[in-house]
C-alpha cells in the first residue's frame, strides 16, 4: 500500500460532491468534493506500490482534458490506468448529469 498526494491547477469548480466506484479487486473509488482552494488536491491510497509516475501521468492527462477544481480522495485496489481514467471521467459525467 502506498499513499500519494498530488496538486493540479484547475479551472472548473464543482458545486456538489460526487462518488463513483468500489474498492474491489482491480477497481477504485473516486470522491470529489467542492473546494475553496485554487487548485485541485488529490489524496490517493493505492494497493499497488511503485506506480507514482503512472498516477501522475493519468492525472495530468485527465486535468488537461477536464480541469475540475475539487478535493479528490481516491482509494485504489490495483486498477489499471484505463479503469482509473474510466472512474475519473464517470465522476465528471455524473456531475454534469446532475447539473
Amino acid at each position: 500500500m502506498e499513499k500519494l498526494h498530488f496538486k493540479y491547477q484547475a479551472t472548473q469548480p464543482i458545486d456538489h460532491p460526487v462518488h463513483i466506484g468500489v474498492v474491489a479487486s482491480g477497481d477504485l473509488e473516486v470522491i470529489m468534493k467542492p473546494t475553496d482552494k485554487t487548485e485541485s488536491e488529490l489524496n490517493i491510497v493505492t494497493g499497488s506500490d511503485g506506480f507514482k509516475e503512472v498516477w501522475q501521468n493519468v492525472l495530468t492527462r485527465f486535468f488537461a482534458r477536464y480541469p475540475l477544481l475539487a478535493d479528490f480522495e481516491i482509494n485504489d485496489f490495483g486498477a489499471t490506468p484505463g479503469v482509473v481514467n474510466l472512474r475519473l471521467t464517470q465522476a465528471m459525467e455524473a456531475l454534469k448529469d446532475e447539473q
Partner: protein, 547 residues
C-alpha cells in the same frame, strides 16, 4: 529423341508404398494397432507432410503416432501445419523426425516455438496467413502425405467431418489430386455416414483412433469475465463505427471486446434503434455470445470457419441462420470462411497485444512467437475487391476521382493489458523477435495502412481520415492513454482532431460512460446464454457457470 520421360513417378511411388502395406488394410480401413507401421511405410524421409492441426480440431491420434515413429526410418520431414497446437507437434523436431515447418498459428506452443527456432531445432519455412498457406499447398508446397481427422467414416472410406470440417477439404484435395497419400484418423467406423463431406476415392487409408480427436472450445467467452472498460468500448464501437458506417457484414475476432459488442446489440443497440439496420450478415465461428443477438432477431446469416463445442444442437435448430447440411448438422469450412472474410465483409473487428506508434499491430511478444490466426486475411483491405457497399464506400476519399472504398479494419484494445504493460509501444516486440528468429519479415498481424479505426477506453481514432503519418500518429496518441505513445499527445492537437472528427471521445458520440455497466449486457453468465438458447446450448464442463 531420347527415352520417353516417365510422367507418373508420383503415382508409381504412391502405388508402391500402398502395395507394401496392403496386407494391413481391409479395403481402406486399417487397425488402430498398426498405425505406427503404416506411417513408417507411407512416409519417406524429407517428405512434405500436412498434419491437420486446425484452429479447433486436432488430428491428435496421428500426431501422437507420428511422434512415436523411428527417426531412423522417418526423418527430416517438412511439416506444413496451419496450427501448432500440441506438444508432440514440436517433439518431432527435437527427435529429428522433422526439421522444417511452414505454419500460420502457434499460440498454444508459442514459447517452445520461439526457443526451438532460436536453438536451430526448428527451421521455419515461413509464417503465413491461413489463405496463403492453403494456396501454397497447390503451388510449391504440394504435400506427399496428409494426415487428417474425421468424425465418422464408412467402410468404403467416405468421410463425415460434420461441424468441424474446417480445413479437411482443402488439405485433402491438395494431396488427392497430385498423388499424395491421404491418411485419415476416424473417431468411429460406421455403416453409413450422415453425409459425405469427403468422398472415399480421395482417401487412401483410414485408421480408427484410440480416442476422439482433440477439439477445443476456443471461441467460447464467459460473459462473467467481461469488464466495464470492454462494455464502454463496445458502446463506442456500436455508435461510432457500426452505426456511423452502416455496417452490414462483419467478422469478430475472438475476445472479450467483441463478445461485449455481441451482448450489447440486443440491449444498447436496441435502445439506439439499430435493430434491422446493422450487421445482419456474419462470417464468424458460432460463438455462444451471439445467441442473444440471434434470438432477438439481429442476425440473418452466419457462415463459420469451424464449429464450437456445445453449440451443435443450437446450430442444428437454426438452419435459417447457420450453414447446415441436409443431414441436419452444421458444415464449416475454414478456407471458404477466410475467403469470405477477406473479400465479402464490410468490417473486421479484432484485438491485439501490441500496437506501435504508427498503428501496426502484433500478437507476437518477447519469447512467444504465436504467429497469426485469421486476422491478417480479414484485417486487410483486399485491393482486388470491386463490389461496393455503403460501409465500404463511406471510407472513400473525397478528393480522388478514381478513389474507391475500403474495408473497415478495427482494432479494439485497452491501453494497458491486464499485466499493467502498455499495449501502445514505440516499437513492437515483433521487431526484436524477427531478429532473434531470423525471419524475413517482421511478424506484423495487421499493418497500419490497413487499420482504419482504433478503439480504446479513451475514444476512437478514425485513422482512415488522417492525411499524413504525422496526423495518424497524433490520432493514435490522443487515445493511447498514458502509454509511452499516449504521453506524447498534445492537448491542443487533440482538440483540433476532435473538432475535425478524426478523434472522438465518448461524449463526442453521445456515449454515456455511466451507462457502461455489466447490467447492460444481454447475458451476464453462461447460464443466461443457456436460457437465451432455450436450453439448446450445452456449455463444456469447464464453462459451467459458478457465478
Amino acid at each position: 529423341m531420347s527415352e520417353e520421360r516417365n510422367w507418373a513417378t508420383h503415382r508409381e511411388a504412391k502405388a508402391r508404398k500402398l502395395a507394401a502395406i496392403s496386407s494391413l488394410l481391409d479395403g481402406k480401413i486399417a487397425q488402430t494397432k498398426d498405425a505406427k507401421t503404416l506411417l513408417e511405410g507411407l512416409i519417406a524421409p524429407g517428405d512434405k507432410v500436412v498434419l491437420e492441426g486446425d484452429n479447433q480440431k486436432q488430428a491428435s491420434f496421428l500426431s501422437k503416432t507420428l511422434a512415436a515413429v523411428d527417426p531412423e526410418k522417418i526423418n527430416n520431414l517438412h511439416m506444413i501445419m496451419s496450427s501448432i497446437s500440441r506438444p508432440e507437434h514440436l517433439d518431432i523436431f527435437e527427435d529429428g523426425i522433422a526439421s522444417k515447418m511452414d505454419f500460420s498459428f502457434a499460440g498454444p506452443q508459442s514459447t517452445r516455438v520461439s526457443q526451438m527456432i532460436a536453438d536451430g531445432t526448428l527451421k521455419v519455412g515461413d509464417i503465413h496467413t491461413y489463405l496463403e498457406l492453403y494456396a501454397r499447398l497447390y503451388v510449391d508446397l504440394i504435400p506427399n502425405v496428409v494426415l487428417v481427422a474425421a468424425d465418422k467414416v464408412d467402410h468404403e472410406g467416405n468421410l463425415y467431418t460434420g461441424n468441424n470440417t474446417e480445413e479437411t477439404p482443402v488439405i485433402v484435395e491438395a494431396a488427392a489430386f497430385h498423388d499424395g497419400i491421404v491418411i485419415v484418423q476416424a473417431n468411429e467406423i460406421v455403416d453409413k455416414v450422415p453425409r459425405v463431406d469427403i468422398p472415399s476415392d480421395w482417401v487412401d487409408v483410414v485408421i480408427p483412433a484410440d480416442e476422439p480427436y482433440q477439439l477445443e472450445p476456443l471461441f467460447t467467452r464467459d460473459p462473467q469475465n467481461i469488464n466495464e472498460l470492454q462494455i464502454l468500448m463496445g458502446m463506442m464501437a456500436i455508435r461510432g463505427i457500426y452505426e456511423k458506417h452502416n455496417v452490414q457484414s462483419v467478422n469478430h475476432g475472438v475476445g472479450f471486446n467483441t463478445a461485449a459488442i455481441e451482448l450489447l446489440l440486443p440491449t444498447y443497440g436496441e435502445q439506439l434503434g439499430l435493430k434491422g439496420k446493422i450487421v445482419p450478415n456474419w462470417e464468424v465461428n458460432p460463438t455462444p455470445t451471439l445467441i442473444p443477438a440471434i434470438e432477438s432477431g439481429w442476425v440473418k446469416s452466419i457462415h463459420s470457419f469451424g464449429g464450437e463445442v456445445g453449440m451443435e444442437k443450437y446450430i442444428a435448430a437454426r438452419p435459417d441462420v447457420f450453414f447446415v447440411g441436409p443431414d441436419g448438422s452444421m458444415r464449416s469450412n475454414r478456407a471458404f470462411g477466410q475467403m469470405a472474410g477477406q473479400y465479402a465483409l464490410d468490417m473486421f473487428v479484432g484485438s491485439t497485444l501490441q500496437i506501435d506508434q504508427y498503428g501496426n499491430s502484433s500478437t507476437v511478444t518477447n519469447g512467444r512467437l504465436s504467429g497469426f490466426g485469421g486476422a491478417p486475411n480479414m484485417g486487410s483491405n483486399p485491393t482486388g475487391r470491386r463490389h461496393s457497399t455503403p460501409a465500404w464506400q463511406s471510407l472513400r476519399p473525397d478528393n480522388d476521382p478514381l478513389g474507391k472504398g475500403q474495408k473497415l479494419v478495427v482494432q479494439m484494445v485497452e491501453t494497458f493489458g491486464s499485466n499493467k504493460r502498455p499495449v501502445f509501444v514505440d516499437s513492437l516486440d515483433a521487431v526484436k523477435v524477427r531478429e532473434e528468429a531470423k525471419l524475413a519479415n517482421v511478424p506484423i498481424m495487421i499493418y497500419s495502412e490497413d487499420t482504419t479505426h482504433i478503439v480504446t477506453e479513451e475514444g476512437i481514432a478514425y485513422l482512415y481520415k488522417t492525411d499524413s503519418m504525422a496526423e495518424r500518429q497524433a490520432a493514435i496518441e490522443a487515445i493511447a492513454g498514458v502509454t509511452p505513445v499516449g504521453l506524447r499527445s498534445n492537448p491542443d492537437t487533440v482538440k483540433d482532431l476532435r473538432a475535425r472528427g478524426i478523434v472522438a471521445f465518448p461524449e463526442d458520440i453521445g456515449v454515456n460512460r455511466n451507462q457502461a455497466t455489466r447490467s447492460l449486457l444481454a447475458a451476464q453468465n453462461m447460464e443466461d446464454l443457456v436460457k437465451w438458447s432455450k436450453g439448446l446450448y450445452n456449455p463444456p464442463a469447464k464453462f459451467r457457470s459458478w457465478s
